[in-house]
Amino acid sequence: MDETKLAISVDDLTVAYDYKPVLWDIDLAVPEGVLMAIVGPNGAGKSTLIKAILGIIKPIAGSVAIYGKPYEKQRKLVAYVPQKGSVDWDFPTTAIDVVMMGTYGSLGWIKRPGQKEKKASLEALEKVGMLSFKNRQISQLSGGQQQRVFLARALVQNASIYFMDEPFQGVDATTEIAIINILKELRKAGKTVVVVHHDLQTVPEYFDWVTFLNVKKIATGPVKEIFNDDNLTKTYGINYKVAVNK
C-alpha cells in the first residue's frame, strides 16, 4: 500500500472505559479517496474508534496520524458528523446557524463568521436540498432533514476527510439516497469518507472499502475482496449469510 497516500493511519490504538477495553490494539490504514464503512455489532467500538481518531476520547495507548501528522495539527483537513442523537435538537437555533458552525473550526478562537461563511453555508444547504428550510428552528425539522443539515455542516468544513457516525439512522429512503449520492460525489472529488454503518445489505452498493470491527479489528480492505461470510461471521459471532451479491 506504499504507493497510495494514506489518509488515516492508526497504530496499536487501545481505548478503555473504566479499565474495560472498548478498542483493543487497533491497526488501521485507510488510503486516500475511499468511501469506507465501519461495521460491527452494537458495542463493537465503532463510534469510539472515530472519536479516538478525532481526539474526543483519549486512548490509553497507540497513536493516530492524519496524512502522516497528529490530528491536532490537521484539524482543518477533517470534518465530523456525530450521531444525530448526540445533540439536543431543542437547542434554540436555526438550520443555517447549525451549518455555519461548520465554519468555526477554520475561523479558530474568537473570530466570528462573516458574509463569506454565510454564503458557503447557504451553498451547502442548497446542495443537500434544504435551502428553503434555512430559517427553520431545528426542532421543527424531520429526522431526515436534521441529518441533511448535519451533512451540510460537514460539507461547509471543506475537508479532505469526512467522518460520519451513523448518518443513515432514522432517515427516510429519499434522504438516504440523497446522502449517499453526496458521499459518492465527495469520493469522486478525491476525498476520503469514513462512515459508521449498520445496514449490512447496503454495504456493497454504497461503499468501496470496509472495516470489520468488534473490539478488535477483524479485517479491513476493499469491499470486493473482504466483504464475505467468513469475515461477517468472525465479526458478528454467528454464522452469517449475506443475502446480497451471493
Binding site: S86, V87, F91, T93, T94, I110, R112, S142
Partner: protein
Amino acid sequence: MTNPQIEIQLIASLVAVACAIPGVFLVLRKMALISDAISHAILPGIVIGFFITQDLNSPLLILLAAITGVITVVLVETIQKTNLVKEDTAIGLVFPALFSIGVILIAKNANDVHLDVDAVLLGELAFAPFDRLLVSGVDLGPKSLWVMGTVLLITLVLLFLFFKELKVSTFDTGLSSAMGFSPLVLHYGLMSVSSVTVVGAFDAVGAILVVALMIAPAATSYLLTSDLKKMLGLSICFGVFAAIAGYWLAHWLDASISGSMTTVLGLIFLLVYLFAPSKGLLAVLYRQKQQRKEVSLITFLLHLNNHSEEEERHINHLNEHINWKKLRSKGVLDFATKNNMIRIENDVVSLTEKGEEFTNLAIEYILTNKDEHIEHIKDDFFLFRG
C-alpha cells in the same frame, strides 16, 4: 425618586443582567442545579475571605469565594465520575457539606461582625447604598455598584469574545472538541464566570435567590424564542424588568427587595409558561387537541375510502363501524363537512373529489412516513383546522 432608590434599582438591574447571561448557558446545558450548588458552596470562601479582608466587597474575597465555587464543580464531577453515585446525588452531597462548613465558621468566629446566616441566605439590597466607595475622600457611589458593574463588564466581554465557542460546545460537544474548542476549558470558563457572578450578587440577593435570577429569566425566554441571541436578549430584559418591578413591589409591600424581585420573575415565568405562543402550555394542549381531531378525520376518511358498500357508510352506523362514541363521530363528521371533504346523500356519507384527493395523499404520507409533508398537505386542504 431619591438617590439611594435609584442606586438600589441600578444595582438590582446589574445583578439581574450579570446573572441572566451565564444562566442562559446553564439552562441550555441542563446544569441549572449546579448554580444552586455554587451559590451555597461559596459560603466558606466568603467567610474566610471576610476574616482576611473584613470587607464583603473586596476583590480578594470575591476571588476566594469564586474559587470555592469552581472547587464545588470539580468535587461534584469527581464524585460522579466514580459512577458510585448519580450527578444529582453528588450535587446534594457536596454543597450542603461546604455550606455547613461556612455556617460553622460564622457561628464560631463572626458573632460580632456584620455577617450572619440570614444575610448570607437572603442578602439585603436596601443596605447596599450605605457602603460607599471613597477614593481620596471623593464619594464614587455604592461599592456593590462598582463590584457588580465590574463583574458584568467581564461577563459581557467574555460573552462577546467567546459566544461562538460557547454556542458550539453547548450544542455539540463532539464537534466542538474535534474542532479544537476544548469543551473542558469552556465548561470551566463558564463555571468560573458563574461563580464570580454568584459571589458578586450574593451580597445583594443572597444565596437562595441568586439561583432564581440565573435560572428563571433563561427558562422563561427559552419558551419564547428559538434563537440563542434573542434568548440572551430576552433573559436580560426579564431580569431588568424583574429588578425594577421587584423594587417597587417591595416598596409598596414594605418587604424584602430580593424576595419581591424573585416573585416578579416567578410570575413572569408562570404567565409565559401558560401563554407562550408556540411552546406555552395552552398552545401545546390546543395543538394536541387539533392533532387528535385531524388524525380522527384521516381515520374516518380512510374508512370511507376503503368501503364502497353503502351500509358501511350509513350515517347512523358509522360510529359502530369505527368504534367511536357518538359525540366524537359527530364532531368528526362536522369537521369533514366544514372542510368540504364529504357529502351526505340519503344519510349515506361519501368522499367528495377533494376528500378523495386528500385521502390518497394522506395514505401516501402514512406509507412513506415523510412527516415533513403532512403539514403541507393539511395547509393545502383544510379550510378550518381541528
